[in-house]
Amino acid sequence: MKKNNLFTYIFLILMSIVFAFPFYFMIVSATNASVDVTKGSLLPGNQLIENFKNLLSQTDMLVALKNSAIIALSQTALALLISSIAGYAFEIYRSKATDFIFNVILTSMMIPFAALMIPLFRLFGKFSAIHPAIGFNSYASAYLPYIATAFLIFYFRQNTKMFQQELLEAGRIDGLSEIGLFIKIYMPTMKNTYAAAAIITFMSAWNNYLWPLVSLQTNEVKTVPLLLSNLGSSYAPDFGLMMIAILVATIPTIAIFFILQKYFVAGMLGAVK
């Protein structure tokens, strides 16, 4: 390997430029006026604040950020709670029957979303008649289909295999109930697992596009990806504004990634073990 090092570094630097260029283009364009972006300027400009003001005055970015935050946080909290209880129970209260059901649940990972979309659309039409809070254009309609997923249950079950069950016996001797064991022993012990699951779930919720496109039709509930997509398909887009919108939309996930990087990598490891 050693003699190849120079070539390795040249290759890696070239590839890094390719991987980083879209980020550079986004950041630089966010500081330029629309006309400079179309001229192909790759140098930073002084329009950052102007673009940001335009973003706030000409689009519903703040509303979209609020909507995305509510949906992504609700989805993450509910998904973590429901999937961790299930992953725990499938491992701790294991029997032949629960194993069979677990395997059936796993097959749902193979179902493509496109096949679910229209029936889900009709299902939420029915929910609308029951209560508007769970029908179309409700926050719940955007996240309910994702709060119990086979992937996350599988992930929690895999990680529960590494959890020391002796701790539960000790808890039982101390007189904790079965629910108490879960809350007071399992949850604190597994906080790394929860953190990694939270990042994965939050990112996929924040970036989700196709189902919110179908389920959230009014402007008051539109999420960030929907707003971006609308901006991008307009006939005469303001490129500076567009790029700062993309930048604002990307900052939350990149920030979360950098803050919780070590859990993220650990979480990915858990998924393949």
Binding site: I92, Y93, P225, T250
Partner: protein, 292 residues
């Protein structure tokens, strides 16, 4: 009721809610979609028409084109990306390499961007008077701007490039974690035996990575078969229908054209069949290699 029976009952209580939700949001819609695929009509007035929708599929040029496009994306993009991810992971797993953490982060960073956000950036990089054409013109690499998004071949190329940019780092993480689990003594022994680096890669590393290759190629295949966000936002399926995917066609049939849920459901079952077909092939290939 003794303590063990009580615990068993509690176990069922714990999994009751997630099971109900998965039945409601995955299996019920799956069965509904199949029933709908046997029906036809507009809006709520559906009636059973047997296999008519499936017969229509075979003679629908737009469906055939979307199927062709999706398969082209799949057959080019997934192998290119997996090979690239393995390549990066092997280089970036080298202990003596400096700035490893930096390079890993750069390659991984695209996978935390939103699909819509990165699609729009690619759309502007590759637009007719976009930054890439201006750069290529200024260094005289081309005489005329290349119509990246208006040419059927280049539009497909841009989509493949975009997905590769977004997902290579994500897949690399799985390979890196697998590489770190390989015992270094195997390589030391191979060094003593005089095996070259390339020889070691094909005889040691690659066989040990096989389960991860299987995992990443199945998940990538399922993802690519459902491609929607990128083509919708970079090319909107165009030019003509040159980048229309099956998912986007289903969306158009359901929400853009006069809604025809029955036919859209039949098209969606094409994806179901493809997912099952490719997963079985990949698992078969994986299993055969294991026996050797």
């Amino acid at each position: 009721m003794n303590v063990f029976q009580r615990r068993k009952l509690l176990g069922w209580a714990f999994i009751f809610i997630p099971i109900s939700l998965i039945l409601l949001f995955y299996f019920y819609p799956m069965i509904e979609a199949f029933k709908m695929s046997l029906q036809s009509g507009h809006g709520a007035n559906l009636e059973y028409v047997g296999l008519t929708n499936y017969k229509r599929l075979l003679s629908d040029p737009v469906f055939i084109e979307s199927l062709k496009n999706t398969l082209i994306f799949l057959l080019f993009q997934v192998p290119i990306m997996i090979v690239l991810a393995i390549f990066f992971s092997v280089i970036l797993n080298n202990k003596t390499l400096k700035f490893k953490g930096f390079f890993r982060t750069i390659v991984f960073l695209p996978s935390v961007t939103s699909l819509v956000a990165y699609s729009l950036i690619f759309k502007y990089i590759f637009s007719n008077n976009g930054i890439l054409n201006q750069l290529l013109l200024s260094i005289h690499a081309i005489e005329q701007p290349i119509l990246w998004l208006a040419h059927p071949f280049w539009a497909k190329f841009v989509i493949i490039l975009a997905i590769t940019w977004r997902w290579t780092g994500y897949n690399m993480i799985f390979f890196l974690s697998a590489l770190q689990n390989i015992d270094q003594e195997i390589y030391e022994a191979a060094d003593i035996d005089g095996a070259s680096a390339i020889h070691q890669f094909f005889k040691i590393t690659l066989p040990l990575l096989k389960p991860v290759v299987l995992f990443t190629s199945i998940t990538s295949t399922i993802g690519t078969l459902q491609l929607f966000d990128e083509t919708m936002n970079i090319t909107n399926g165009g030019p003509g229908n040159a980048t229309l995917t099956i998912s986007q066609y289903i969306y158009n049939l359901s929400f853009k054209y006069t809604p025809d849920f029955g036919y859209a459901a039949a098209v969606s079952y094409a994806i179901v069949i493809l997912v099952i077909f490719f997963s079985i092939i990949q698992m078969k290939v994986g299993a055969n290699n294991e026996k050797k």
